[in-house]
C-alpha cells in the first residue's frame, strides 16, 4: 500500500530562531576592510537598507531537514508511473545529471573569450546539427527556454517572414485547431496575431473543410501538434501542408509530441517550416517541478536568417558566436539558452544513437496502445474519436458516462489514482473531450507498472459504482487530503506570500 510522507512541516518562516545562521559567506580580507573603512561611508545614505529583510533564521541542519521533508512530500518519475499526457514523463538518466553538474560547465560565464569555451560551443554546435537532423529542418536555434518560448520565437519568425515579403499587415491571423494546447493561441497572440480556431473532425484530426474555409490572404500560418493532443497522427498532413502553403502561410510544428516520431518520421519532411522541440519531454531532461526546460526551434533554409543572435558558427577549426545577422529578429532572452539542460540532451542522444531513439519512439507507442487496449472496457470510460485507429504516444479517454452515472468525475479518478502511488493522467485537456483523461505512459515503464495502473483504473471505475464516496473523497494516502483550491484564489482568503498570509490573519483578528 502507498502512503506518502506527511510531515507537519510549517512554512519556513515559522522555523528557526533569531540569531541562528545556516551559511556564512566569505568575508572580505582584513586589508580590504581596512583600506575602505566603513561601508556606510561608501553607500549613499538614502540608498542604505535600514530594515533587515524579514527572512527566517535557521541553522544549516534545520534548512536541510526542512527541505528534505518537503522533498519527501513530492512525487517524481523516479517514484513511479507518471502518465501525464502531453508531458512525456520519461526517466531522466542519472549520468546526464552527473555531467550537468561538472564544474567545467557550471563555472562558465557566457561572455568568456571564445578560446576558453571551445568545448561547450562544440557540444552546442553538434547538438544543433543533431536536432536539425532529427526534425528534418535546416537550422536549429537553442535559445528558447521552454516549449512556449519556442512558440513565441516561431510566431515572431512568421512575423519577420511576412514582413520581409511586405504583407505582414495583411497576414494577421494564425490558425490553431481546437485540440491545441493553450500555449499555441497564447503565443500567437503575444506575437501580435489574431487567433482563428478550426474544429476537429470525427476522427479527431483537423477538419479539412474547416481549414479550407479558414485560410485566406490573412493567414500567417497554422500551428499544429502532430501526433495531435489525442495521440492521433494527422492523417491529412499532406493536404494540410498544401492548403496552408498555397494560401501563403507557414506551417508550425508544436514538438510536444515528437517522442513517437523519433527516427521514424520527421516534421520537416511533412512540410513544417518551423519546429519547436520540448527538450524536457522528448530528450529526457528532468522537469524539475515545472522547469527549467529548453525549447529549441528548427526552421527551413529560407527562415534561418531570422533566427535570434548569436548563432554558433564553425570554420572547420574553431567555434564562435556570430552576431552579424542583419535579418535576425534579435533576442528573446539573455545569452544563448538553457545550456545545462541542453547538455543533458546531448548526452541522451549520444547514449542512444539512431537505433536507440527509434526504439524509444516505438516502445512509447506500444505502451500507449497497450494501455488503451487494457482500459477499453473499463466501466464508465469511453474512447472518443475513432476508437479503432492506433494511437501514437498517448490516448485520451472520457469519464463523461461515468460522471453522469455515478457522479465520479475525471478529477475524482485522478485524485483516487494518487492513493495507489500512481500519478494521475492529464485531465480536462484536450478541451474537445469532456471529462478527459489524457494518458501518456512513455517508453520508460515496464509492463508490470503499466498493469498496476490499468488494474487500479478498473478498480476505481468499479468503486465509482459501488462505493463512490471512496473516490469522491480521495485522495486519502497523500501528504494532504483534497485541497480547497477555490479558497486559494479567492481575493478574501488568497495568501500568495507569507507576508500576505500574515496581513490577512491580522485583519481577521
Amino acid at each position: 500500500m502507498f502512503k506518502q510522507a506527511s510531515w507537519d512541516e510549517p512554512v519556513i518562516f515559522s522555523r528557526g530562531r533569531k540569531g541562528r545562521r545556516g551559511h556564512i559567506p566569505p568575508k572580505a580580507e582584513q586589508e580590504i576592510r581596512q583600506a575602505l573603512g566603513d561601508l556606510n561611508s561608501l553607500l549613499p545614505k538614502n540608498m542604505q537598507r535600514t530594515s533587515r529583510p524579514r527572512l527566517p533564521e535557521l541553522s544549516e541542519v534545520e534548512v536541510m531537514r526542512h527541505f528534505l521533508r518537503l522533498s519527501e512530500m513530492n512525487y517524481g518519475v523516479d517514484s513511479g508511473l507518471y502518465p501525464l499526457g502531453s508531458c512525456t514523463m520519461k526517466y531522466n538518466p542519472k549520468i546526464n545529471e552527473l555531467l550537468a553538474s561538472l564544474p567545467s560547465l557550471n563555472m562558465l560565464n557566457p561572455y568568456q573569450d571564445e578560446s576558453t569555451v571551445q568545448g561547450i560551443l562544440e557540444i552546442l554546435y553538434r547538438l544543433e546539427r543533431w536536432l536539425a537532423e532529427i526534425t528534418g529542418t535546416h537550422e536549429v536555434c537553442l535559445q528558447p527556454a521552454a516549449g512556449a518560448h519556442g512558440e513565441l520565437l516561431g510566431t515572431l519568425l512568421m512575423r519577420a517572414h511576412h514582413k520581409l515579403n511586405g504583407d505582414y499587415e495583411k497576414r494577421s491571423e494564425i490558425i490553431v485547431p481546437d485540440s491545441a494546447h493553450g500555449t499555441n493561441p497564447a503565443s500567437a497572440a503575444m506575437a501580435g496575431f489574431n487567433v482563428v480556431v478550426v474544429p476537429s473532425d470525427d476522427d479527431g484530426c483537423v477538419s479539412l473543410g474547416a481549414l479550407k474555409a479558414a485560410v485566406s490572404e490573412r493567414t500567417a500560418g497554422l500551428m499544429l501538434t502532430n501526433p495531435n493532443t489525442l495521440g492521433i497522427f494527422e492523417k491529412n498532413i499532406d493536404e494540410i501542408a498544401r492548403i496552408v502553403h498555397e494560401a501563403g502561410g507557414l506551417l508550425y510544428y508544436d514538438g510536444a509530441n515528437l517522442n513517437p516520431l523519433l527516427c521514424k518520421a520527421r516534421p520537416g519532411d511533412m512540410g513544417f517550416d518551423i519546429v519547436h522541440i520540448n527538450i524536457h519531454k522528448t530528450f529526457s531532461t528532468p522537469h524539475g517541478g515545472g522547469g527549467p526546460g529548453a525549447g529549441p526551434v528548427g526552421v527551413t533554409e529560407e527562415l534561418a536568417k531570422f533566427l535570434p543572435i548569436p548563432r554558433i558558427g564553425f570554420n572547420g577549426t574553431r567555434y564562435c558566436l556570430d552576431y552579424d545577422k542583419p535579418h535576425s529578429i534579435g533576442k528573446i532572452r539573455g545569452f544563448y539558452g538553457n545550456i545545462a539542460v541542453l547538455l543533458r540532451a546531448y548526452a541522451y542522444i549520444l547514449s542512444l544513437g539512431n537505433e536507440g531513439l527509434k526504439e524509444v519512439a516505438e516502445v512509447s507507442v506500444l505502451n500507449a496502445n497497450y494501455l488503451m487496449k487494457k482500459l477499453q472496457g473499463a466501466k464508465g470510460l469511453t474512447l472518443p474519436y475513432n476508437s479503432v485507429r492506433p494511437r501514437k504516444h498517448e490516448c485520451v479517454f472520457s469519464a463523461k458516462l461515468l460522471k453522469s452515472e455515478t457522479g465520479v468525475s475525471a478529477l475524482n479518478i485522478a485524485k483516487r489514482l494518487l492513493d495507489f502511488g500512481l500519478h494521475a493522467p492529464t485531465i480536462y485537456f484536450p478541451l474537445i473531450v469532456e471529462e478527459a483523461l489524457m494518458i501518456e505512459p512513455t517508453e520508460t515503464f515496464e509492463k508490470e507498472e503499466l498493469d498496476r495502473f490499468t488494474e487500479n483504473m478498473h478498480k476505481i471505475c468499479e468503486e465509482a459504482y459501488t462505493t463512490p464516496e471512496t473516490v469522491l473523497q480521495a485522495p486519502h494516502n497523500t501528504a494532504v487530503s483534497k485541497l480547497d483550491e477555490v479558497k486559494a484564489s479567492h481575493p478574501r482568503t488568497m495568501a500568495l506570500s507569507w507576508r500576505m498570509h500574515l496581513k490577512k490573519n491580522a485583519q481577521k483578528t
Partner: protein, 454 residues
Amino acid sequence: MQEIGIKSIDELYADISQKYRLKKPLNLPHALSEFEVKRHVEALLSKNKTCNDIPVFLGAGCWPHYVPAVVREIVQRSELVTSYTPYQPEISQGMLQALFEYQSMICELTDMDIVNCSMYDWASALGEAARMATRITGRKEILIPKLIHPERAVTLQVYAEPAGIVTEKLVYDKENGQINTDDLKGKISNKTAAVYIENPSYLGFIEEQVKEISREAHAHGALFIVGVDPTSLGILKPPGEYDADIVIGEAQPLGNFMNFGGPLLGIFACRDDMNIIRQMPGRIIGMTTTQDSSKHGFCMTLQTREQHIRREKATSNICSNEALCAVASAVHMALLGPEGFRELGETIMYKANYAMQRISKISRVKAPIFNSTHFKEFTVNFDEAGQSVEEVNKKLLQNQIHGGKNISEEFPEFGETALFCVTEIHSKNEIERLAEALTGILEGKSDVQASKLG
C-alpha cells in the same frame, strides 16, 4: 504486442504515409555506453577554462557566486528533480511549499507583496513587465535608461513591438551616470505606461534618485518598474521602499551556477493590488487549507490568468518555467537569512570597490568612468593608455586572467571600456594579480606575471 494483437510495432505506424516514414538511419552519432558518454563529454568540457581554473572578472547579467553544499544536495533530490508542474497538489506539496517559500522570501528581500514562481530570466521578465504595464494602464510607451544591458534592451524590444509598445531611452548624467531627471520630465507624459530603472545599473553603479523617479512616474499615472540583482538587497534599499509597482531581476546568483548563461531565474514581483495581480504573468503558488480545513497546504492559484485556461487572452504564454532554480534560490535564501544577506552584500561591495580603487591607481587608466557608488561591477577605461580592451584582455589571458566584458561596441561613447565584476569568490590575491597584470600590460610588460601562474 500479443495483447494488442499486432505482429510488428510498425503496424502501429501504418497510418503514417510511407513517404514520410524514414527508410534510412539518420545521420546521428553511434550509441555509446554510459562510461564512453561520460568520458566523451568530460573530454569536451575540459577544453573549457572556467573561473575555477583562472580568475575571471566577468558578470554582466550572469554572475559567479558560491553555491552552498546544502543547495546542491536539495536540488538533487529526485522527488523534486523528476516531478512535473504540480498539477495534482496533494501529491506535490513539497514542490509547492518550496516554491511558495521562494516567492515569500523574494517578497521580503524586495519588499514587495507578491512574486510569481519564476520567469525564464531577467531579460524576458522585462519584456513581460512592459506588456503587463501597458495592459494595466492602457498606454503604450515605456521609458528605459540608456545605460541598460543591451541584451535586455533587445529582448524588451522583441517582446514589446508586437504589442505596439514603444520604448524610449532616458539620457544619463555625463558625470555620474545617473538618470537625467530633466530628460525624464521632458519625456514622461500621460502616454507613459511605465518608467523602468535598474539598480544596480548594468554598469554597476547605484541609481540614487529612486524616490524622485518613482514620484515622477506616479505623478503621471505611470507604473514604476525596477530591475534588481538580489545579492545587493542585504545592504541596498529594497525597491518596495521606493514604491516600485513591479520588480524584476535575476536570481541566478542565489543558488544557481552560471552554466554558460542558462538556466537563469527571472524574478517577477508586484504589490498587493488586485488590478495589478490579475495582470501578472506566470504561475503563482498560494497557501490554502484542505477542504475539511484540518491542515494547511499549497496549490497553484489564479490560474484563470494563464494560457491553459485563458488561451489567446492569457497574460502570457509561459508554461514551463525555472521552478527548480527557484527552489535552489529558496534554499540559498533560507541558509543566508537576514544576517547572511548583509554580509554577502558587504563582502561583494568591499571586494569590488577595493578592486576598483586598486585599478584606478594604475596610471592612464580610468576606473570607474562614472563618479557614483558601485556595487559589484565597475567600468575600466583604457583610452588614455592607448590600448583597446581587446588587446588588454588578450594579454590578460596570456597571464591566465580573464578580464572584464568589452563594452566598447555597445557604448561607443565610452571609448575603450570594459565592465569588470568582482564577487565574494574573488580573493584579494586574485585582485592584486589582476592589478599587477594590468599595470604590466599598460606599461608594455605583459609577461610580468606569466611566471606566477597559480
